[in-house]
């Protein structure tokens, strides 16, 4: 490992901040995975493709002359409705089947949505506007791109809003209770099926945020979230697949670490970033399968 002799502090800080921006995107998508994992008990492999699809919808809305933020809000609503519909129409019929059945279904959805996106919008790469100016601000001698700050704030802002919702509203509490104990929730009068559907709706909306924040840098094409999903998956596993806090911390941590390794460890460079993420995934699964914040599942016999 050839570390450069003079590591300039301001450059490191710069890499950390852009790592945090990338990490915030991983965190959103990882949180989406965790939301679904907590209620449906499977990893939704179609999460990335659902995000891509909704980002294309945002692109179409903006192409019709709608300004960025209204289009952003409208896309979140559409994504939410789409997520709820997917759960009601596709997941519900197999709800009580073995988990493998649901996993295979989500893989099928991945392929189907990917194909559908290419069929509707064509295979080419499209430019996606960013709502933030392409400038930097200098803070304490460190140049931070406004794009990075904006991405970070939007992603973590969404996470914060979601946290407030789950913590303080009746509906949020009911959704959490369903994640912990669906049978007991039914006895409390909770319509469990609808709570699961809402969970899918929130996950889809989070994915849409991640997609719209990622699209200006990775460009919009039907495969754009494939790689991001792997980062998000690694982040979720790093934090603990059943822990929302873990997903966010895991995402930020992964973003920073990958960015630093890519910049300062020569052989990682640009090309080996993804394998590095996979290595993280593997290491966590071997050393600490519950992740940083996950619960150890104790099964009573």
């Amino acid at each position: 490992m050839a570390l450069p002799l003079a590591v300039v502090w301001s450059q490191v800080a710069q890499q950390v901040t852009s790592g945090l921006a990338a990490g915030a995107i991983y965190a959103s998508l990882a949180l989406a995975l965790v939301l679904i994992y907590q209620t449906t008990n499977v990893v939704n492999f179609a999460q990335g493709e659902m995000a891509t699809f909704t980002t294309f919808i945002a692109w179409t809305i903006m192409n019709h002359g709608v300004p960025y933020w209204p289009a952003f809000a409208l896309t979140l609503l559409i994504a939410f409705g789409g997520g709820v519909t997917v759960e009601r129409v596709l997941i519900r019929p197999v709800e009580h089947r073995p988990e493998l059945v649901i996993v295979i279904l989500t893989i099928g959805m991945l392929i189907a949505i990917n194909g559908l996106t290419g069929w509707i919008w064509g295979p080419g790469v499209k430019a996606f506007d960013s709502p933030f100016p392409n400038r930097s601000v200098i803070v304490g001698g460190v140049a931070i791109s406004i794009q990075d700050i904006g991405t970070f704030c939007i992603c973590l802002g969404t996470v914060l809003v979601l946290w407030l919702f789950f913590r303080f509203t009746t509906l949020g509490l009911a959704m959490r209770s369903v994640a912990f104990n669906p049978d007991a929730s039914r006895l409390m009068g909770v319509r469990v099926g609808w709570m699961l559907a809402l969970g899918w709706g929130f996950a889809a909306a989070l994915g849409a945020v991640a997609g719209m924040m990622a699209a200006p840098t990775v460009f919009l094409d039907p495969d754009m979230m494939l790689v991001l999903l792997i980062y998000a998956f690694a982040a979720a596993v790093l934090g603990g697949i059943d822990s929302p806090v873990g997903a966010v911390v895991g995402g930020l941590l992964l973003g920073v670490v990958i960015n630093l390794l890519g910049s300062y460890v020569d052989f990682v460079g640009q090309e080996l970033r993804l394998p590095t993420a996979l290595a993280v995934l593997l290491l966590v699964l071997v050393i600490r399968p519950t992740g940083l914040f996950g619960r150890v599942v104790v099964r009573r016999v």
């Binding site: 009746t170 509490l173 007991a184 006895l187 409390m188 909770v190």
Partner: protein
Amino acid sequence: MSTLLELRGVEARYGPIKALHGVSLTVAEGEIVALLGANGAGKTTTLRAVSGTVRHTGEIVFEGKQIARSKPDAVARAGVAHVPEGRGLFAELSVWENLRMGAYVRGERRTLRQEAPRVFKYFPWLERRRDQQAGTLSGGEQQMLALARALVGRPRLLMLDEPSLGLAPTVVQEIFRIVKELNADDGLTVLVVEQNANVALAAAARAYVLEVGQVAIEGESAELRRHEGVRKSYLGY
């Protein structure tokens, strides 16, 4: 006294195993009724049939309405609070959040504001420990929280599944004392399943004894206490 709950010929099965062979019983408004019997007699299954958490046939009428085909959440909203075997607490949530879930059935916020003070009168320690995680409470405290959570929803019928299970005798006495108090103060109707027939008969006005999925004996508590078979098999003297 008008009939609050009536079961007529209720049968239930778990896969190929039949657990209830036609159970019929009634619970009148304002009374405490005990459901006794040995392990596997069908006591728990009877409660589960009422709350809709086990597949069953037959008629179940609650407040004059047929609820035999209702889903568990609908039965809960109709006013039946079922404290199940194992208590069904949300171990990861706080005491207060568990109580909030108890109020969910009638609209959380308003119900909680009205009912929490009333429930805290019976369980004053709950108010002091409202932020404690429910899973860290002792067994007896958990049973009381489960009871309190059910009461916050102001149920028309409270169904308790073996509240004495695994608890020290003094705690069991305390729980049944509170149940009797609630019954006397508010006219709360209770259907309680118990293996501990002594303590259940002391609290209940009437009781049914289940044997292999059917009602074998029924009557007033005092009467059952003198019953030869009940005494030998369930009271142990």
